[in-house]
Symmetry: C2
Subunit: 273 residues, 2 copies
């Protein structure tokens, strides 16, 4: 099943499910609301009328938690000569950080803006203290995100949060794909392109902590609820690690894609205020 929040040409938005190439409405304005009120297994039979000329928008505008993992791609960690980590490196974002799959990303001129293509895991059932099997059962599905990072703020102090939590800087979407249709642990290709040039490519098979492992680990200390999001980390190829370093400029188009899930296309807009 492929789910999204879609806008029609009048700007009205609704949760929707893709059937035979057309979007059919579901009874909620977006997937945050839908997942809080309806188990994923019940969704198919709720499909309503066709939404004509539907455009996917921010699917999950109101998660209670967006927990992010860093340093999680084995191939990239090994190529830097580091040991594989024993525990996931976690930090937090808030719902305000998210932005839609085709939205512009507005940031102030003068900061160091970098890309981080990531697989996003969406929680479908409340889980606390779950093991990996329970975590797997609690996953509603997968979508695409880019953990756009303000590197100079990220490294002002030891804690990354202030470089990671800028409002409307993390694009996510366009569709939530249920686990029966995609299995990132089996290997999906994730890529990032800047103005058409590929800057990241990896397989989600090489995640050190996969989706179920992350959900289980986080649920040890905090409850995860339907609509909450776990970002799984980015592979090698980010701008700050290049020689010379490369950051995003005004007008740059960032495309983030995961095979079998979908594509984000966001333009960076640097403004004077």
């Amino acid at each position: 099943m492929r789910l999204a929040a879609v806008a029609d040409p009048t700007g009205r938005t609704t949760a929707a499910v893709l059937e035979d190439g057309t979007w059919r409405s579901l009874p909620a304005p977006d997937l945050s609301t839908l997942l809080r009120t309806t188990p994923v297994a019940h969704l198919a039979r709720l499909a309503g009328g066709v939404v004509e000329d539907a455009t996917p928008v921010l699917p999950l505008p109101t998660p209670t938690k967006v927990v992010c993992c860093g340093l999680n791609y084995g191939d990239h960690i090994r190529e830097t000569g580091r040991e594989l980590p024993a525990h996931p490196t976690l930090f937090a974002k808030y719902a305000d950080t998210l932005v839609g799959p085709a939205d512009d990303i507005e940031l102030p001129r003068g900061v160091d803006v970098d890309w981080e293509a990531e697989l996003a895991v969406v929680v479908g059932a409340e889980i606390r203290g779950g093991d990996e099997s329970q975590a797997r059962a609690a996953i509603a599905g997968y979508t695409v995100a880019n953990d756009i990072s303000i590197r100079d703020w990220q490294y002002r102090t030891l804690q990354w949060f202030q470089g990671k939590a800028w409002d409307r800087s993390t694009p996510i979407g366009p569709v939530l794909v249920t686990p029966d249709e995609v299995d990132p642990a089996a290997g999906s290709t994730i890529t990032c392109r800047v103005d058409g040039e590929e800057v990241q490519r990896a397989s989600t098979r090489t995640l050190v902590f996969d989706a179920a492992a992350l959900v289980a680990y986080i649920s040890t200390f905090t409850v995860l609820r339907p609509g909450d999001i776990v970002l799984t980390g980015t592979p090698g190829g980010v701008g700050v690690a290049r020689d010379p370093q490369r950051f995003l400029g005004d007008g740059d188009v960032v495309e983030t894609q995961i095979e079998g899930i979908g594509l984000l296309r966001n333009t960076i807009r640097l403004t004077d205020h």
Copy 2:
């Protein structure tokens, strides 16, 4: 003005204001809801009936953001020989982390539980991109918190989040005191006691980044809304920095107090699951 969420003997909770030593109800179940719907300046004239035998409970159960500052007491930083920081070290919690001013704090046996007495700033008006003057005007008031930290998890990786975000581990309250009644920048004594023994004592005057500076800085990258909380960091004297290290055990009573604001009294309960 002194505000709280209070429970009556039947367990019903309401927002309330203290007048002449008695709590009078306000039209909301708690201060999160109250601040989202009503400017602080309008509250006094909304006071309703007296709540008999009122007991303060968690005042702010549903903030959208709880942003925390580390390494922020100048006397402690100087005594460790470090330079004063140019930027605040920030990390995030979620609403689920909060617990009431007299609640037990349940954690699993075997983790390293430490105390961190902190001044908490409560936002009263939406602010984004504000300067310090605008930030000062956006502060609803001050309360007391203890950023109880799971040190072994905090230091598993470089990012502190997983040691700071355990559900129901950060007590906060009991009252929100408006800025006309208390000015932490002028100096309020903050103390922490464990089973009656004082383990932390400092003046909020020695904060490197005071309440208005923190709110302004955070508002550079993310909007703060009524009911959001900023924790301002803890002074010296935490257990992990002692020689030998000292952590909290089952049944330990942690008292956290700020002169002119109030007192938290929480018992640590370590459980087998």
